[in-house]
């Protein structure tokens, strides 16, 4: 039976119909005041591919995701989604692009005034006004069942654990059936068992939906499990990019140290 790692290796094989990258980031620079966070990052992800962005805390991994979804504006460089640059787009124009993207925040960022079901239904309420209420409710139940939260529809976010909040956040990110999935530290703060469950869930969803995914994490084990390609950041630059084997064979001191400590 194929292991999670075998599936991840399979994912690393190039898609025959990959074509243009779905997400392409070119020479991105971003600073907050005098602190330079990204110093010329270039990355791309194609359909069906999962890229894990690794690095020490504070190296700009989360900022990279925020730049891709347009929550931050780069100082220079370009972000292209399906070949279209998002620079200078108005918020409503950016909204049309965001409908194709799902974002899982590091702390889930659930709406604390809505129930679990209300949170997952939120994007559907605003963007799928063509479907009836019962169809929407069915879709919400289906999404929550996919993430193992079908028994918690009426609970409030404050009543569920951090791992459960991440699952609900993931269900919400998948509500509009995105083509691109951005995951910010999906296993941060979770115990090893919960982390493994989240990793298996992400793998399952990727296998079924063939999305282009970018996962930001400092957990090397998790990155190996769910991603076919890894990019290691340090001081705002990509130190190395490739499969896990490539990282293992690297002679770069920082890479060796990162692998050794992980």
């Amino acid at each position: 039976m194929a292991t999670a790692y075998d599936i991840a290796v399979k994912q690393a094989e190039p898609e025959q119909d990959a074509g243009l990258p779905v997400v392409a980031v070119d020479n991105l620079h971003k600073a907050f005041g005098r602190q330079k966070v990204l110093n010329g990052i270039s990355l791309s992800v194609s359909r069906g591919e999962t890229l894990a962005v690794l690095g020490r805390s504070g190296t700009g991994k989360s900022v990279l995701l925020r730049l891709i979804i347009g929550l931050e504006t780069p100082d220079s460089g370009t972000v292209c989604i399906h070949g279209q640059s998002i620079a200078g787009l108005a918020i409503d124009q950016m909204g049309e692009i965001r409908k194709k993207m799902g974002f899982l925040f590091q702390h889930a960022a659930l709406y604390d005034s809505l129930t679990v079901a209300g949170n997952v239904a939120f994007p559907l309420v605003h963007h799928r006004r063509d479907i009836s209420r019962s169809e929407r409710d069915d879709r919400v139940k289906q999404l929550l069942a996919e993430v193992g939260m079908e028994g918690n529809l009426e609970k409030m976010p404050s009543d569920i654990s951090g791992g459960m909040q991440k699952r609900v956040g993931l269900a919400r990110a998948l509500a509009l059936e995105p083509e691109i999935l951005l995951l910010d530290e999906p296993t941060a703060g979770l115990d090893p068992i919960s982390s493994g469950e989240i990793d298996d869930l992400i793998l399952k969803l990727q296998r079924e939906r063939k999305m282009a995914s970018i996962v930001v994490t400092h957990d090397l084990h998790s990155a190996r499990t769910i991603a076919g390609r890894l990019a290691l950041l340090d001081k705002g630059n990509v130190v190395i990019e490739g499969t896990f084997e490539k990282l293992q064979q690297s002679d770069i001191g920082f890479v060796k140290e990162f692998l050794k400590q992980s």
Binding site: L71, I91, R98, K99, A109, Y111, H127, L176
Partner: protein, 283 residues
């Protein structure tokens, strides 16, 4: 004196510290910082206002959220403004009766109470009470959403937060303030009459007829509708302060406090301008 003719210099004498003088450059830097912050705040408010306006006039409109906010701002503020109005009515009644009796103008009491409440006290008290309740609540709610990334999550879900959160709240404040002012005025006039009637028999019909005798549209309506501007100020300041919050729980507290303080301040300053405007255009 040494043999070479020069004086020996003691090298180990400790330096005597001079008097403390704040450098002029430090004061100038502080002043520049304050002035810079002042203009930065107004500039950011201008950009925020433009984004909210553009979101408010372009579809899809958030009618459901607007209705929810009308209830939050209007219905839930009603008991508070009614109580404030009732208190003001009694206070003005007691004070006015004493002054008018002293100057032999007791018969002017109904008109004095009506004009004082409807033209001045009712709108201002309503604005300040709502600024405290709604301004603090909105500022804190949005600030809490900001620091927990809920507003970012809304934006990442391809929903315009300026339309969903800010425009609906500001519209609710604009629409509800005049209605709440009418409620304040009604309660103030009722309790003002009651306070007077306890001392001297005066029917409510007589009170109203005397109080509104000779009243015109210009005497009352502009003063009531100007509270829509108060609503704009309260909603705009509260949403602006809330949605730009940083710094966790402390930031939420600052946002709530600043929302109330700044909204109240701007409301009073705006009243100065609007009173003059009304006197000129609605004589």
């Amino acid at each position: 004196m040494s043999e070479s003719g020069t004086s020996a210099v003691a090298v180990n004498t400790p330096a005597v510290p001079g008097p403390r003088v704040a450098p002029i450059s430090g004061v100038a830097d502080s002043t520049a910082g304050v002035v810079n912050g002042f203009f930065e705040w107004f500039g950011s408010l201008g950009i925020f206002s433009w984004r909210v306006f553009r979101a408010a006039v372009t579809p899809p409109f958030e009618w459901g959220e607007l209705v929810r906010q009308l209830d939050e701002v209007g219905s839930k503020s009603l008991p508070l403004v009614a109580m404030a109005g009732a208190a003001i009515g009694v206070i003005i009644s007691l004070e006015a009766r004493y002054s008018l009796t002293r100057f032999g103008a007791k018969s002017m009491f109904p008109a004095t109470l009506v004009y004082s409440v409807v033209q001045v006290m009712g709108p201002v008290i309503t604005g300040l009470v709502v600024s405290g309740r709604v301004g603090a609540g909105m500022g804190a709610e949005l600030a809490s959403m900001k620091v927990t990334e809920q507003i970012d999550a809304i934006e990442a879900s391809a929903i315009n937060p300026y339309r969903l959160l800010a425009a609906t709240r500001i519209m609710a404040c604009i629409l509800m303030l005049p209605l709440l002012t009418l409620a304040t005025d009604a309660c103030a006039l009722l309790t003002g009459w009651f306070a007077q009637a306890m001392v001297e028999p005066l029917s409510f019909q007589q009170f109203i007829a005397s109080g509104f005798n000779g009243a015109t549209f210009n005497a009352f309506m502009p003063q009531t509708f100007k509270t829509a501007v108060y609503g704009l100020i309260i909603g705009l300041i509260a949403c602006f302060q809330g949605m730009r919050t940083q710094g966790g729980a402390a930031g939420v507290g600052r946002a709530a406090t600043n929302s109330v303080v700044l909204a109240s301040l701007f409301l009073i300053l705006a009243d100065v301008v609007m009173v003059k405007f009304i006197l000129v255009f609605f004589p």
